[in-house]
Amino acid sequence: MVHWLSGGWLVTPDWREAHEIIIVQTRIPRVILAGVVGAGLGVSGMVIQAIVRNPLAGPSILGVSSGAATGAVIVMRFGLVALGAFTLHIAAFLGGLAALSIVFWIARTGGQMTPTRLVLAGIAMSAVLSAVTSLLVLTSPDPQLAARVLFWTLGGFGSAQWRLLPIPVIALIIGLAIMLVQARRLNLLMAGDESAVALGLDVERFRRGMFVLTAALTGITVAVSGVIGFVGLIMPHIVRLLVGADHRRALPAVALLGASFTIAADLVARSIIAPLELPVGIVTALVGGPFFIWLLRRDARSLGVVK
């Protein structure tokens, strides 16, 4: 690393060029991508839980993940390459965005966009899209498609390259910056809609804006890494136990913790059965799921499950 940063002056290479290429071209962008995706999922999850005022919500609740999966499966199924090397990523993002717009539209029809309407619309949308995805896979002539789709939907950072990084990195920086600026208002959402209004927040408008922001961030995240479960659901809970629920502290903390967790999970995913790789979503769910269950059993009150 020192050699690389100093332009070859400080340290004389005593390694093979192949190793250098692997580290510089593959490993470093992969670690960065894992960190960015983990941080993005963590902050999205935390903000979505505040928007829908439900601690059991996660980034996938808005239908973005299933929309992205449908977009990706369409590309795989019909072998589309129209948009170059990143066709899959672009299709996943567009799929997520389309699903989200529909959820948004359903939740707003006939009046206010309440938390319950949002969650129900997201669940219904996810169910429909999962069915479409399954249908596409089952009717495919390609027997390998099911395995490839499963692999993609479980998530991973195997496709990391330097030129894939700018969009997620910029999205994370902008998204996190806006969330931090709005942290006080996010706190008000936790007090209930009526209280938030009485405390001076234009709840409808604010919720709409935050919904679009988190959805875009989730969409980009899913597009570059597939569906990585449990990070966006669990990290916010752990952070609230550690630093409290105030978003001014909790948002930076969940970004750091999400990034660390995902980088560690990716390390496990690619080394545990090396030279083969596990989808990182399996690792996060295998670690995250039991941990969540343990949390639930130990302290249901802290999760707001029991009043």
Partner: protein, 245 residues
């Protein structure tokens, strides 16, 4: 002012004026429109006709934040989903006074500390809000409204969940801090004891408006609540004292 919900008229052509520093009590059976009237003041429900004027300005032409700088509301809306501490909840009251990204100043901290001390919440300010009893929650929500530094306090059934000691101390407290108070109350005797003026509502309309002596008469209580009541004077405070039956 009039407020409708679908075909139903919740508040029907009501005109009310509250002088600065006065304590107005809204009385009436469930569904009389008391809460709806209060909700137009803290900008939760817009009036379908008429205006809400605060210091001569139309509240619905100003922002939510502007209204929150002038009106503090204590309502039955308890955050329970997230592990907010009592102090987190109280501190939310400063939000309308803060620019984006502006950190809490020593002034904010002092206001929050003072409100917590006044409501005797010091011992559990770092406890989770949802672990408090109903009465403790109510005091925390009052502390939150106080740090808004409002000119007007809006209270919706503030004595719910409170034992008699805290009912009395809450009403005495809000009467003595010198802000204008508009409160929906169920207890007629407490209302008579603390309010300067009472407004008796029924099915969205104002039935009577005036001093407790004027408003609380056996005939009106019979009309509005459908109960027989005897009116006496309280032997010690000399306020109107309603005895059902």
């Amino acid at each position: 002012m009039t407020v409708r919900a679908g075909a139903q008229t919740l508040v029907d052509d009501v005109t009310l004026e509250v002088r600065p520093g006065a304590f107005l009590g809204l009385l009436g059976p469930n569904g009389a429109g008391k809460s709806t009237l209060l909700r137009t003041i803290y900008r939760m429900i817009p009036p379908d006709a008429g205006v809400v004027r605060l210091n001569g300005e139309d509240a619905w032409r100003r922002s939510s934040a502007w209204v929150a700088q002038h009106v503090g509301a204590v309502i039955q809306d308890m955050p329970a989903e997230f592990p907010l501490t009592v102090r987190d909840v109280v501190a939310m009251g400063r939000s309308a006074h803060k620019a984006l990204l502006e950190p809490d100043t020593p002034h904010d901290t002092a206001l929050i500390d003072a409100a917590i001390a006044l409501q005797q919440l010091g011992a559990f300010q770092h406890r989770a809000f949802r672990t408090l009893s109903g009465g403790e929650r109510q005091r925390a929500l009052l502390a939150r409204a106080l740090v808004q530094q409002p000119q007007i306090l809006v209270l919706d059934e503030p004595t719910n969940h409170l034992d008699i000691r805290y009912q009395l101390s809450l009403l005495r407290f809000v009467r003595e801090i010198g802000v204008t108070v508009i409160a929906a109350l169920h207890d007629l005797n407490l209302a008579a004891m603390f309010c300067d003026r009472l407004c008796l509502m029924d099915r969205g309309r104002v039935v009577a408006l005036g001093t407790p002596e004027d408003v609380l008469t056996p005939a009106r209580l019979g009309d509005v609540y459908g109960v027989h009541a005897t009116i006496q004077r309280h032997p010690r405070t000399d306020t109107v004292w309603v005895l059902p039956g």
